[in-house]
């Protein structure tokens, strides 16, 4: 079975490294990006199976990246897991509301993230 590619997007390089090491230990192929624009460029090129996406980032925030992925027919089957400091404000697992817009993501995890929980989420989506 080919290794699935997981993209980790966060403007905190220390967190990207910590998450990447966990994923690599589980034998996922990891791609990294450090702002929203860089993430979007790499997503189009690499078409990862799943994107772990921070919300508050320079150049383009996670809400906008998620919107672009989910509104693009060639990308919208990519699973998006948002890492958000406002996780408690999210009422369902499928939607979040930001500036009056509804953005579709597949899952959410509040920050500071539980790394083990994140690995469970990734494993679940990638197994399906």
């Amino acid at each position: 079975m080919s290794k699935k590619t997981i993209m980790v997007v966060d403007d905190d390089p220390d967190l990207v490294e910590a998450v990447s090491m966990k994923l690599e230990a589980k034998e996922y192929k990891v791609s990294k990006a450090y702002d929203g624009q860089e993430a979007m460029d790499k997503i189009k090129e690499e078409k990862p199976a799943l994107v772990i996406l921070d919300v508050m980032m320079p150049r383009k925030n996670g809400w906008a990246v998620c919107d672009e992925i989910k509104n693009d027919d060639t990308l919208n089957d990519i699973i998006v897991v948002l890492l958000t400091a406002v996780g408690d404000a999210v009422k369902t697992t499928n939607y979040t509301h930001h500036d009056g817009k509804t953005t579709l993501a597949d899952d959410y995890l509040p920050k500071p993230i539980d790394l083990d929980k994140l690995m469970e989420i990734v494993d679940d989506y990638c197994a399906n």
Binding site: D11, D12, P13, D14, L15, V16, E17, A18, K32, A33, Y34, D35, Q37, E38, D41, K42, M56, M57, P58, R59, N61, A85, V86, A89, H98, D99, K111, P112, D114, L115, D116
Partner: protein, 324 residues
């Protein structure tokens, strides 16, 4: 040298406190914490009798820092490259590049993935261009400034007040606390221009796949670089590789005897939230655990201690930090 990116931190001042250890009263990070001042980067070095604390604050905090009796350098910024992957050849190559350019930096600190230097704002653009030319970066990367857009910041503060630089939890969350016991602390002290001539050593370090677990450096006023790094014990290959053909002006030695331990932990944006470095260092001071060196940058805190005190330090830190 391949890197994933360059990150910039702008509009800072550098605040330093030098002290003779036996006369030491209140460290500056404690005073800054009392006045709710955020420290975005901190280094502590007590390996000499005359120790030094150095930190970066927002440029708005100049008067406050001066009032505390600290030395203030205005118009500084930070520049980080990442990830270093604990590769000693990468660390050496980065310092070599800076030395070759005769680029003066005030401090260098390592975190889990970043090597961060504090430099004059005037030199940032030129240095960023220079490093972009000499480091292999992904084509999609643009060096970016740390910080959020105004609207994102407003939203974050509204929904999550903790992020407005005040941590409201009883215990500060971490992703876990790591202890590396029984390490060697090396110190290289030499004129900056001598550091620039050791290109061959980088390749030798790379071939031997040598790791470092912590690094700190600074350039003194007389252009002398003091460069510290931690490795596993008895890495004679490091000494051999670095000392081979070294001019007499360079000294390389174990600084501490017999050895040291490193305790490190990571949390959500530790460097962006006021008081966290103080919580870590002050609780250790209160327990009379000596801090030989410390770095707080990015989202990490690293503390170098006498080797036998690591477990005690961990238990002490758990009074204020939470382990998942």
């Amino acid at each position: 040298m391949k890197m994933n990116g360059i990150r910039l931190g702008e509009n800072c001042i550098r605040v330093t406190q030098r002290y003779v250890q036996k006369d030491f009263a209140a460290p500056i990070y404690q005073s800054l914490s009392k006045s709710f001042t955020n420290i975005s980067l901190l280094s502590v070095n007590s390996t000499d009798d005359r120790a030094c604390i150095s930190c970066c604050l927002s440029s708005r905090e100049g008067e406050r820092a001066k009032a505390l009796g600290a030395t203030v350098t205005r118009n500084v910024c930070s520049l980080s490259v990442y990830p270093h992957r604990s590769d000693l050849a990468t660390l050496y190559r980065f310092i070599h590049l800076l030395a070759k350019k005769q680029a003066r930096f005030y401090d260098l600190v390592s975190s889990d993935s970043m090597l961060t230097i504090v430099i004059d704002t005037d030199s940032q653009e030129e240095l960023c261009d220079y490093l972009s030319r000499h480091i292999e970066l992904p084509p999609s990367h643009t060096p970016f400034s740390q910080g959020l857009s105004k609207s994102d910041k407003e939203l974050l503060v509204k929904l999550w007040p903790e992020s407005s630089a005040a941590y409201v939890e009883k215990k500060i969350k971490t992703y876990g606390i790591t202890i590396l016991p029984d390490l060697d602390l090396y110190r290289i002290a030499c004129p900056l221009d001598q550091m620039a001539v050791h290109t061959k050593k980088i390749q030798a370090l790379r071939e031997k796949d040598l790791r470092f677990y912590f690094s700190q450096a600074r350039i003194d006023k007389d252009d002398q670089i003091n460069f510290f790094f931690l490795t596993h014990k008895n890495q004679d290959r490091i000494k051999e590789t670095l000392m081979n053909g070294m001019p007499d002006q360079i000294s390389l030695r174990f600084k501490t005897a017999p050895s040291v331990s490193l305790i490190s932990f990571q949390g959500p944006h530790f460097g962006d939230r006021y008081g966290i470095a103080n919580q870590a260092l002050s609780v250790l001071r209160k327990a009379s655990i000596p801090i030989l060196m410390a770095n707080c940058s990015g989202s990490c805190i690293y503390i170098v201690l006498p080797w036998h005190l690591a477990k005690e330090a961990e238990q002490t830190l758990l009074k204020v930090f939470e382990r998942p």
